[in-house]
Amino acid sequence: MDHFKVENLSISFGGLKAVNNISFSVEKNSIFSIIGPNGSGKTTIFNMISGIYKPDSGRIICDGENIVGSSPDHVARKGVARTFQNIELFSNATVMDNLLLGRHIHMKTGVFAGAFMWGRGSAAAKEEIANREIVENIIDFLDLQSVRNHYVASLPYGKRKLVELGRALALEPKILLLDEPSAGMNTEEKGDLNIWIKDIQADYQVTILLIEHDMNMIMGISDRIFAMNQGEKIVEGVAAEVQCHPEVIKAYLGEDLSC
């Protein structure tokens, strides 16, 4: 059974073929990177996977089940978490609350159970305590203790990226989609991020799909790389193969160069 697979995925916006007949398959617990110039349709693929866009054709198979047509919250329940290119956090909530929201699908307190949280023994309080413990671990892991109770709106950009990553982790995903996690970070932060991604892969047993522009980072951590341009696939393979592919170089630099 395939762990995660995309088959013949296509979508067009008003005549423009944003993604055209893309297929790839991802191994369990690997890091799979998608690269390509701006506008090549990488984020669109993520949006289709997480259910924000509905593809015109094709299938997205997650643990043997086609998730095309599911609404975003259903996709999340299947164990797919993601971050966004431009950060979509809940900015008027604290870091803690943002991470707890990542636990949403693992909790079941409803309105009434919530309203009747009278004391430590109530079902809602028990669930809260248990989930807060898990979230504290993620906070420790990402080194966010200092801003634990700060409002997200008051945080610097790099920290926000981390909070968003933490929120996705709190969902305990099977598949994690990271959309340009290192954008806007300095070299030092990027180095930390590199290590974290590796750790996440190891500690949380999660499959990572990564969109990234930083070639050093991509080449260093990816198990497989998928290169695309203008909605079409160029090449898929390990780092060395992709790096030297003439069309990849052309797409990035606009001229023919060889390694």
Binding site: T43, F84, N86
Partner: protein, 256 residues
């Protein structure tokens, strides 16, 4: 957002009344128009400009607050009793172009003035620099600012202009009914609902929305007078369920 400022017309009309006692109609008319523009600009300058990045809810609350303040001021000055107001038109002069369809001077004047204003607005938004700047500001205030549009002036102008139009509408309404500080509340709600029905920021939308609203109300009002006050709102709720931004406006979807 040149929408929702019809509210000020109550006071403008009040001022109008004050002038009528002493001046001839056209002089009073001109002064009232000037006054309503001034009032609109003043509201923008005093109440809206100092607010930093108000949300839509904040704008609504400020507008409602301004309305309560002005209505209170007008009632304090002129009392709550109804006053007489008339345009220099004899409403009893009627024509019957088709059998059973009677039209009077008042209605003709309303149609003519509305057509002029709408035509002007259409040309204004489509072809003048200021009009385009206004549209740009409405769609994205920050981008407009970066492009060198003085958005604050645009807002002032929008307020001044919309209160001018509101004052004209108020005069027509007052000449059909009576004049008191709260008399425009009900028509204003309906006007706003009609604009929403057609789609805000779409001039043909507003015209058609208004026409539809009037027709629905009057046809239902004839056959089921009991339900006249709410039938238009029910229709609007149903329409908006199908077209969330009204009949003619574009629905924007946020990109991630």
């Amino acid at each position: 957002m040149p929408v929702g400022q019809l509210l000020v017309e109550g006071l403008a009309i009040g001022a109008c009344y004050g002038l009528f006692a002493t001046a001839v109609f056209w002089l009073a008319f001109v002064i009232t128009m000037l006054f309503s523009i001034l009032l609109g600009v003043l509201i923008e300058f005093l109440f809206l400009r100092p607010a930093k990045h108000p949300s839509i809810l904040g704008m609504i609350v400020i507008t409602l607050g301004a309305e309560m303040f002005l209505m209170g001021l007008a009632s304090w000055k002129w009392g709550a009793e109804q006053k007489f107001f008339s345009l220099p038109l004899n409403p009893s002069v009627t024509y019957e172009p088709v059998k059973g369809m009677i039209i009077n001077n008042w209605a003709i004047a309303v149609f003519a003035v509305t057509a002029c204003i709408m035509l002007f607005l259409y040309i204004f938004f489509k072809y003048t620099k200021l009009g385009v700047a206004m549209r740009a500001t409405q769609q994205n205030k920050h981008a407009a600012k970066i492009m060198g549009i003085r958005t604050e002036r645009v807002f002032s102008f929008a307020w001044g202009f919309s209160s001018l139009i509101g004052a004209v509408a108020g005069m027509f309404f007052a000449s059909r009914a009576t004049l008191d500080p709260a008399f425009m509340m009900e028509p204003f709600l309906r006007a706003f609902a009609a604009a929403v029905l057609g789609g805000l920021m779409s001039i043909p939308g507003v015209i058609i929305g208004g026409a539809l609203m009037g027709l629905i109300e009057n046809f239902f009002g004839y056959y089921w007078p009991h339900w006249k006050p709410i039938i238009a709102f029910i229709v609007i709720i149903l329409v908006l369920c199908l077209r969330p931004s009204g009949l003619f406006a574009k629905h924007y979807v946020k990109k991630v």
